[in-house]
Symmetry: C2
């Protein structure tokens, strides 16, 4: 059997290795356009930072090591320039000229290319990308050439952009981050992204969101960036991280079907419309399932690329029936959860499943639980607060997506939410989930359990909520009852708010009823816990009280101007 | 509505608080036998250690604070001495004498008592338990009285016993740990417990397993312990942690149904056989589901006690239909997963679901995946190895249970396995699970994915395995092929083993075939990864090769004498 693999990183290399393990006698050739295979592309920012100090650590394998261990024929600097589906052969441009290779099965995993943003002057020597070893070396060379007092601008505040910012600050640079979207990490909810922005600013990063770079011009060897707000930035180094485009031109030329946003259409077994060709990774179209809705498009994440390479090899060697991974919905694109995580200095931001924007676009009926629990028992030293935003379906309480920003324990809980999504679990299941508890690791009621309790309370109307985004309407409609202590309220309250501490609410029911004057009561505290207790007291006395989801912590991150509305 | 709660910690207090939140006007009385309510019993060892320095931190609430916040009538030093089910009243012995309380609903959550082991001389002033604030204070007083150079013996190596050991070492004591079972943490698999025992010994703890304490006698104010192996120990302090017995005497006297190991029978809504009485926590019978089998008995863990208190309050106030938690199998006892975690110095040990002993007792057909992955990408600094043992059903690949011993990332992955158990996920699902990946947090193929890959390979016979426990039969039957490097093998191999490094196997097939002489080939490496590759090469050449699950790392922990067999 001749198996040809286009692309020697992540998906392609996982497929090649698994194919060899399943078939000792197959002829497996891996063609990598660049000079390196199987390198740790996710590690590049950490090498720039100086956290990873041994460059060889990034080069996980070489053609020689792959020959020795897996008997693979790995060719670097070998670019496939045409696919001939009739003849089942690819044309390769290698270091020594062009040649053909015949295949029985072709694995198409060329990855994605950096999307070129509409910025003039990108050929300035200060401007660099950070997706390959060579590009990383280019950044490091530029940093050495500039020397001390490096002024750096990172364009694009996605995962790699933020990792680049952290790396450059770590190396002593003065860093500006420019993001076109309204906030950093665009898939994150706005109030969660605000926490990340605060952390960036606290570390000395200048953050410019809702801002585009329009042009780069040269001023005595330094880049001058013209921004959409009319301002200018001087930068010795510009790191561009403005998204990627699937490398599917070759496949499209060969007549493979292209789906959403340029990605190749594959089924649950990674088969394209040509049964001899499999695609995966950044080049293939994935499916994010949101209730009954399917969102299609490329989801360029390393983990699914690796797993799908493995699955494709199974299908090639053993057929669909013999594949280790049996897929429930084989005709649909592979389902991914979109789980992602990034460390930003002292913070960790993580997400899985759908966010508000996706849910609103799909017109899903959902509620949102917002809470700020500690990662472990408060009485044990070192507890860190985490900020959870989780969406549940109104119809049946199914978990739809979750995001967490915090310190310790964020990766742990986002993984629990991801697993719950995979298992189709809902608020009821998560409320009854036995998670690991000892004081250094968690709480008897884990943050995930607490999230589910909040969701249950919203879903069954035990605790109706109002959301920080709606603060202006609420000010028009409701009595604001702030149940924090008088001392906390000295820093400011919502306009017109009545302050009665939560422990005093039972003794001031008449006063509250009078102040409400028929309006509903919008109860407020710092995190949503004390206001929940007050909400229950008021509702137990036939008052229409609703709790501010996430409290002033969330209000602050949503509408920093809330005290002056 | 009159709600009377017996027991003011965990389950009882959760029930009382939830009942108030759901019913502002109920009359709720909490009766606690001891002097403290709602204290942090899981925090006691950490206060002994000096890690928690503020004693007030352990006292989460007082009767006064609970009155203020939740309008609860909490009575300490108030012991219920009889339940009259006909009259629906309890008789209480309080500080000021005896009295009756009428109830509409009674919540029975008195917890468990320390089981008294068959040791004479337990009244020696050195002998202490560690389950209450008073007992903790007693230990600290004894430590102060003895002063420097404290010799301590901890009897019982369960969770609290190990936490006590750690605490006492932290305070400079010379500590001996005596455990009756063959290894510490009896629910842990033997090879996992061995890792914990090594850590204990590395920290200077003398560990005596398979050993009972028979008697304590006094020698000049010091305790002398007579052990079952005939030896004696001198101890200034003896901390007893030998398990617990459900406090169900009162319930039994009132005719409530008692189930396995003395626990009260309850249904999925925590209802006893008396519809007005609910039980939970250490006193109630739980169900651990293992495939089609249900294991019944008390599972004394704080987390489920808290959650069940909440659920019981829902049922009392709103009825089963109105309960936030809808239970699938309401007639059966509440399902728990038995998820637990403990820190032992630099190690973390965690478990969820069934272990080998449970599976063997239930005659479940299962396979075991054993692996030793790093908690995050190896090229990023600080990766720590974790040791995973996970069981899957042979029939359908369903996850049955998992245990992890390691450092960072253990709590994270055990929670993923627990969530997977809750969702009924199997190897196929976990192989396709999108977990959070960035180099500081995980790997593109997460340890959980890897566990599933290994399980799939065993289940579909891609990689037949043999287990370290069977090493003696294997030595009789098979050719041992050790594929580690010659240098690694200098430290010893299994008797009669042939050493051919995994990268050389393809070139030595004839030699291996000849050495096997018709026997099957038991392939060995350090962790099971290289031997997997070799197993596949051999099987691809029609040789019956099987891989040692977990490699010599697991063999070492199972049979430390393996080199001399």
């Amino acid at each position: 059997m001749n198996i040809v693999v286009i692309g020697g990183v992540a998906g392609g290399m996982s497929a090649a290795a698994r194919a060899r393990r399943l078939d000792e006698h197959a002829n497996i050739i891996v063609l990598e356009k660049g000079p390196y295979v199987s390198f740790a592309n996710c590690g590049l920012p950490y090498y720039v930072a100086g956290e990873i100090t041994d460059r060889d650590q990034l080069l996980l394998h070489t053609p020689a090591s792959l020959k020795k261990i897996l008997n693979l024929d790995v060719r670097v600097n070998a670019e496939v320039i045409a696919i001939d589906r009739q003849q089942k052969r690819v044309r390769v441009a290698g270091p020594d000229g062009e040649y053909h290779l015949d295949y029985d099965s072709l694995i198409y995993s060329p990855g994605a290319s950096a999307a070129t943003p509409p910025i003039t002057g990108l050929d300035h020597p200060a401007a660099h990308w950070l997706r390959t070893i060579d590009e990383m070396d280019g950044i490091l060379a530029r940093m050495r050439a500039v020397g001390d007092k490096l002024r750096a601008t990172v364009v694009g505040a996605g995962f790699i952009g933020l990792e680049a910012v952290e790396a450059l600050v770590h190396r002593g640079a003065e860093v500006t981050l420019v993001e076109f979207a309204p906030h950093v990490l665009p898939p994150l909810e706005a109030e969660q992204a605000e926490l990340v922005q605060r952390e960036l600013r606290a570390r000395g990063v200048q953050v410019k969101v809702g801002t585009a770079v329009k042009a780069i011009t040269d001023v005595d060897g330094t880049a001058q960036l013209a921004l959409s707000d009319g301002s200018h930035l001087m930068a010795d180094l510009v790191v561009l991280s403005t998204g990627v485009t699937p490398n599917t031109e070759l496949g499209a030329d060969a007549g493979l079907q292209i789906g959403e946003r340029g990605a190749l259409v594959v089924d649950g077994y990674l088969r394209t419309n040509d049964p001899a060709i499999y695609a995966m990774g950044d080049a293939a179209q994935m499916r994010q399932q949101v209730g009954d809705h399917a969102l299609l498009g490329p989801v360029p994440l390393a983990a699914s690329a690796n797993r799908h390479g493995r699955r494709a090899a199974d299908v090639i060697v053993r057929g669909v029936e013999g594949s280790a991974d049996q897929v429930a919905n084989a005709d649909a694109p592979p389902r991914v959860l979109g789980t992602a995580i990034v460390r930003v200095f002292g913070l960790t931001a993580a997400m899985t499943g759908a966010n508000r924007r996706m849910l609103d676009a799909l017109e899903v009926d959902y509620i949102t639980a917002i809470l700020h629990p500690a990662d472990h028992a408060g009485y044990y030293p070192g507890a860190e607060q985490m900020h959870i935003v989780a969406h549940f379906a109104k119809a049946d309480g199914a978990l739809l997506g979750a995001q967490i920003v915090g310190g310790n324990g964020v990766a742990n809980r986002i993984n629990v939410f991801a697993t719950a999504l995979k298992g189709g679990l809902g608020a009821n299941d998560l409320a009854d989930l036995d998670l690991a508890y000892a004081p250094p690791f968690g709480s008897a009621k884990d943050p995930v359990n607490m999230t589910a309790f909040v969701a249950q309370n919203i879903l069954d109307n035990t605790m109706p909520v109002w959301y920080a985004n709606d603060v202006e309407q609420v000010l028009d409609q409701a009595l604001i009852l702030d149940v924090r202590s008088a001392r906390e309220c000295e820093d400011g309250m919502l306009p017109g708010a009545l302050n009665i501490a939560h422990t005093q609410v039972r003794d001031h029911l008449d006063e509250i009823r009078e102040a409400a004057a028929g309006r509903w009561i919008a109860v407020v505290c710092a995190s949503g816990v004390r206001s929940y207790l007050a909400t229950r007291i008021l509702r137990g006395n036939d008052l229409d009280a609703r709790n501010l989801a996430g409290g002033t912590l969330t209000l602050d991150a949503t509408r920093p101007d809330w005290r002056e509305l």
